[in-house]
Symmetry: C2
Subunit: 303 residues, 2 copies
């Protein structure tokens, strides 16, 4: 199987109640690729500036991420600066410098043009569609988005959603996109826009999966120390989509398991700054935490 992702590669500066990290590796495509790399081979389309150090590229290569689609442009790499309070659910953005990302024209290399699965990370919905139209229609197209596009480029986002199979979206953003406070009704409304499957991310409360005729609820892993939530959503998406690509099966059973693998990857990612925890992971730890999720949620039927 083959998985293609387009998104951002960035430098993040993050402050949480537990510490500070300056100019560390970040970006939606970075977190996604790294998490997905534990399940399948990933091809990356993104842009960095001439300040992007080779060691980060080497790291991605060490995770067997194909970086042929990683453009290098004169200028600086995308930079984000944010802060979290004790309520780690929401980041306060202090600075955003798009830099080379501002003029990003995604170009899908020839060797990438027949992906089985495509993940459109959280970027301009116009760019998401441009990537989608540069490849043969994949068997599965999943995408992420955020309030910035829901508010600012709604019509374009709706056009993108019409071509997408799975949307991953935050709870508040799902309500905003649907204009509906009830989450079940909001999910139905969004499914009506195109994606037959919807994953609603709820931070420390886990995730809901809305399928064609079922709902599935996954908890978050109750962690004693959450260090830095940056990239949790993208790591979640990486585990989720990576597992699906590996299974080559998108049925109800696989989607539910994939949600748990997504939750597993997110739970590891928040245990340290940047991609530090994911860098030191091995697959046995992932399996072991998957089984912890089983224990966390299993209860007996009634007689």
């Amino acid at each position: 199987m083959s998985l293609l992702v387009v998104g951002s590669v960035a430098f993040d500066s993050v402050k949480t109640p537990f510490g500070v990290a300056e100019d560390v590796l970040g970006g939606s495509a970075t977190y996604f690729s790294t998490a997905a790399s534990y399940f399948t081979d990933v091809k990356l389309v993104a842009v960095v500036g001439d300040d992007f150090p080779e060691k980060h590229v080497s790291f991605l290569k060490s995770r067997k991420v194909d970086v042929e689609g990683l453009q290098r442009t004169a200028g600086k790499t995308f930079r984000w600066k944010g802060e979290y309070g004790y309520d780690l659910n929401e980041a306060k953005t202090l600075e955003t410098h798009l830099n080379v990302f501002e003029g990003f024209k995604p170009e899908v290399p020839e060797s990438y043009k027949k992906p089985d699965v495509l993940f459109l990370a959280n970027i301009d919905p116009v760019l998401q569609r441009e990537v989608l139209h540069q490849v043969e229609r994949p068997k599965l197209v999943a995408c992420d988005t955020m309030n910035f596009w829901i508010g600012g480029k709604r019509a374009e986002l709706v056009r993108t959603l019409a071509e997408v199979d799975i949307l991953l979206i935050n709870e508040g953003e799902a309500r905003e996109l649907a204009g509906e406070p009830n989450l079940v009704k909001a999910a139905k409304a969004i499914q009506g826009m195109g994606p037959s499957t919807l994953v609603i991310k709820r931070g420390e409360y886990g995730a809901l999966l809305f399928g064609t005729d079922y709902v599935f609820s996954a908890p978050a892993y109750p962690l004693e120390s959450v260090f830095d939530p940056t990239g949790a959503g993208d790591s979640f998406a990486g585990g989720f989509v990576g597992y699906l690509d590996n299974m080559h099966n998108f049925d109800e059973k696989s989607l539910k398991q994939a949600i748990i693998f997504g939750s597993v990857m997110a739970s590891f990612n928040v245990e340290d700054f940047s991609l530090n925890r994911m860098k030191s992971l091995d697959y046995k730890e992932i399996e072991s935490r998957y089984r912890e999720f089983r224990k966390l949620t299993l209860f007996d039927d009634i007689a």
Copy 2:
């Protein structure tokens, strides 16, 4: 088995985005008893004024709730007025008139003095202890509390907690009680105060059960129409404690199942104002929703 509850019986006036209910039957002990009555026989200790209509007493009797311990005092019944916005998670209290509840001295009738299980609903921790000390030590003592007592009568609450087996508490209140933002750490701190088992209620996000050496996560049922959240926590407690009393077994397996029955009762309760939905329930519906919770959370192990 026998289950004793002490708490409030009240008239509620509630406004939600979906309607208004004036002077309807409410109160923690009322919701609790009604929910628990689907699982076991309940004995009620509470106080009402001389304005309390016989029809409400008849209703409780029809649910086989023993009302020998329901005191009638000259004066008005406890009244609460509240409002919910589209975020149905938190009520805005508009008015609280304690009325006869202000001078409430719980008196446990002789026929109530050997309960197997005791539930101390959300009242003054001093009164909770007075009830506990009027009965033979039950096999299981569970209690509820709220920010009002955590802030205002902390020392008394801590004394009560030292004598309790299970505490049910809201998420924010657990953090406040423990003085700790991380929920896992907060749970450990509270378990150190006495209750070996802790149930953290998270509204539309479900509940967490912290046992002696395990954690269990239960989702809330994704409802398309939540009408009125009043009494959800007490209905939850009623299903949870009522099931445990019925099982006469407080092991890990039963506690997990009990959490689901609690969630089932809460999910029904919010579908209508006051106790209207619980009034029309039958046990088959409860079992059927229990199985819906299984479908909602079950996923396959990895090979």
